[in-house]
């Protein structure tokens, strides 16, 4: 049972919906999205492995981070596990 599996869970409160709702809050979020697309297309990791890496974040971290923060942490985690990254960026574990 993993923290991402929230269907039916109580306590997340009301929705926050605005008039425009652009997909990205900040430019770095779009960059993270593009980076993940490129890495998956190139076969550096599989989409399923990417999802798995988000899901195995410690539940407290998952709930405290924003959507694209999770994406970025999972990306750096996978790249480190594969020995493809040395830069000091947040990761899990």
């Amino acid at each position: 049972m993993r923290v991402n599996d929230v269907g039916g869970m109580e306590g997340f409160g009301a929705l926050s919906v605005s008039e425009s709702d652009p997909p990205f809050h900040a430019d770095w979020e779009a960059h993270v999205h593009a980076l993940v697309s490129a890495l998956v297309r190139r076969g550096v990791f599989a989409l399923d492995e990417f999802r798995d890496t988000i899901e195995r974040m410690p539940p407290t971290d998952y709930l405290e981070t924003s959507y694209y923060e999770r994406w970025f942490r999972a990306t750096t985690t996978l790249l480190r596990e594969r020995g493809l990254l040395s830069a000091d960026a947040p990761a899990d574990g």
Binding site: N4, D5, V6, G7, G8, M9, E10, F12, G13, A14, L15, S16, V17, D21, P22, P23, F24, H25, A26, D27, W28, A30, H31, V32, H33, A34, L35, S37, A38, L39, V40, R41, R42, V44, L47, R51, I54, L63, E64, T65, S66, Y67, E69, F72, T75, T76, L79, L84, L85, S86, A87, D88, A89, P90
Partner: protein
């Protein structure tokens, strides 16, 4: 805190550093990333599919029968991503209202609607709409009659869903491109009526 922005400054810097290292080692290229960003910034116009289905009954039938194939007539494809996906069109009627979610992550018909809005990815939406869709829809300003049957679709695999909204009354005279302008993203997710 999933809507939080508290680390934006440092994260933006970290993302740039990771990009730079991956470009330097040849794992991705700057041109490739820029091309993907450009594509994401181009407004997706899945509304064209809905407008066409409203004016062309034969296309509507093909769309409801096999949406994956039908959208290719209009130049869209479900095969542009990392693996082929299937598209299913969900027809709203006076008696049935459809609404789409992905409770496990954020699966969404990007090929037709572009990157998803923040609320679609929020825990509040993902957790609640499968349990209490009428309450969630009313927070979007959509009050459904009790007689309307609600169908929630959880996109948990390789299927993506497009809601075919009810055509607004009084639009019989409108041309297809003007109809398309009436069709909202939320209408095609099922969290708004038109």
């Amino acid at each position: 805190m999933s809507e939080g922005h508290h680390h934006d400054g440092s994260i933006a810097q970290q993302v740039r550093e990771v990009e730079a290292e991956l470009e330097a080692s040849g794992i991705v290229s700057a041109a490739e990333l820029e091309a993907i960003l450009d594509a994401m910034r181009t407004p997706a116009d899945g509304a064209r599919v809905v407008a066409h289905a409203w004016v062309d009954a034969a296309f509507r039938e093909r769309l409801l029968g096999d949406a994956t194939a039908a959208i290719e007539e209009l130049g869209y494809s479900m095969h542009g991503g990392v693996r082929p996906q299937m598209l299913v069109a969900l027809e709203n009627t006076e008696a049935v209202h459809n609404v789409v979610v992905c409770t496990l992550c954020s699966c969404y018909p990007i090929a037709l609607l572009g990157p998803s809005p923040p609320w679609y990815k929020s825990e509040a939406y993902r957790s609640r709409v499968v349990r209490e869709p009428r309450a969630v829809l009313s927070e979007f300003g959509l009050e459904l009659a009790e007689t309307v049957e609600v169908r929630v679709w959880d996109a948990s695999a390789e299927t993506r869903y497009l809601v075919l909204p009810l055509r607004p009354r009084g639009t019989d005279e409108l041309a297809e491109e003007h109809l398309a302008a009436l069709i909202t993203r939320n209408g095609m997710i099922g969290t708004a009526s038109l």
